[in-house]
Amino acid sequence: MANVLLKGIKKSYGAVEVIKGVNIEIQDGEFVVFVGPSGCGKSTLLRMIAGLEDITGGTLEIGGRVVNEVPASERQIAMVFQSYAIFPHMTVRENVAFGLTIAGASKAEKAEKVAEAARVLQMENLLDRRPSQLSGGQRQRVAIGRAIVRQPEVFLFDEPLSNLDASLRLDMRMEIGKLHKSLDATMVYVTHDQVEAMTLADKIVVLKDGYVQQMGAPMDLYHRPENLFVAGFIGAPSMNFMDVDILSRNGDTARVSSNIVAEFAAPVWRDGIGSGRKATLGIRPQDLHPVDTGGVLEGTVTLAERLGTETVVDVALKNGTRVLASLAEDRVFEPGEAIQLGFNPERAHLFAPASQEEKLVAQTAA
């Protein structure tokens, strides 16, 4: 196994720069997930690690060796694609053994390794089938099998579960998690699904517009998002945002209010939050709860979605701002019903206003 080091990695297609100087350190045996919206550059970054895309600038190291110019086949990596990319004219056994065949492995070695991979992935009974006779989940197993038999130093996954239906996705997600633990391998995983990111990752890298917005442990990103984008991207439903005024700042707390938010003291741990300035208040839907009196937010219910174990309530505040509250209970709300919402001030997030925030991100990344 090996570590992976990206230093100032850039990628341009002609005049268009899609990766704008990315620095990431992936430790040996770590499970790192690149996450972000479509077009953020996460797949491009993975393909650069794989050697399927040229690197325009910066240095890429795998296992301490600079591999910028090293062809994909010599990087000691294996990759699992979203479309599975298993060879339709070969049996499962031939597919799984493909890399070994190329490497000139003996028949006995191939048989042993294929059998071991089949056992780990529970597909012993599929080995003589053709891909057309397999379901989506089984095909993805074959693709993973092909990756593990070669015992690569780094596993790369490019949205491997996106083509699967919801229940299968959950199963395969758990299997990939187990596989990581059993192989103790370095894995880099790309997804736009933040649930996959949160559940699988040791470290999440959030990307947007070719910049790293934040990287860290899943719970760090959830509890201490560094900017509005990360705060909005991590967590479902998305964090609620509303503009507030900073009335006063006293060390690690600031008193804030607005025409829709009653005055309260919020924790501060970012730059750019000062007395007399504007700020954006962020509250996760899970941190909001209905109260009978003295709520910080007041509004009317426009929609309530009952999911059995939770109820998601869409509330229109007095000035028309919409917020979502996610209650960990099954509860009935009528549309038009007046509601007051409270929250633990400790769970509030204060961000510099949106415009300033974007600028900060750009400067940090550059």
């Binding site: 399927l52 994909a72 599975y84 990319a85 339709p88 890399g99 190329i102 092909r146």
Partner: protein, 293 residues
Amino acid sequence: MASISPDNHGLRLVTRYAVLTLVAVIFVFPLLFMVMSSLKPDTQLLNDTSSLRAFLPVGDISLDNYSAAFERAPIGAFVLNSVLITGATVLLTLFVCSLAAFSFVFLDWSGKAVIFSILLATLIIPYETIFIPLLLMASQLPWIGGDGFEIGWLNTYRVQIIPFIADGLTIFLFVQFFRDLPRELIEASRVEGASWWLIYRRIVMPLSGPVIATAAILKFLFMYNQYLWPLMVVQDESIRPVMVGLGYFTDQLNVPWGEVMAYLTLITVPVLAFYLSLQRVFISSVASTGVKG
């Protein structure tokens, strides 16, 4: 949505079959005329052309025309030559053109787009326009063979094969097909450590059955029907292909039509056999050109 009544459905079916039958008749009748005429003496054959009898095995039916045709021309040798020339050209074309297309689609090299455009432009140049310069060139080309070094390719098999191996249309067909192959299959192979040659041999070509069949049929027909070029470059009867053999029947005032038809029937058999053997793949290829699966 309006439902289709059974009557309406039946009418559509009848119309569809009527059109298909008409098209089939248009295509089949010339063949039928050829085969039937090959069984009749010339006088009857010419009389029958004014009626439907031309398409029926009626009157004085015999295989006399076939035996006469065999006496007039060395048909066996001609067919063998054609099979050899056509077979070799088809195989070499498939190999060379698929490699070229592979390079155009999967490899990065500068000037690729320009060269591909030039290649496409050659599609509009008929072979007939380059035959004279090609003939002059072929007469002066060197060759090292069993007899050592020699100058001039005329009167050989190779002059009937090599000029037709690389062609723009076949490369274009392969390029179009390769472009539709899932990119990830190639990328997965690269990551697994496969060389380009191995990717070509183990991944791309095994998945290219339909385009191989299409290209093979088109090339086969083109080569099998060659007349002008072999007439120009080959004088030696022992290496002439079938189409040139037609000349054996037309060098007199009275054309023996029955024998011509017998000869044509005989030389059509290999074409039909070849086409029918690849028909299924050919049809699936034509059908898949518009639909991505």
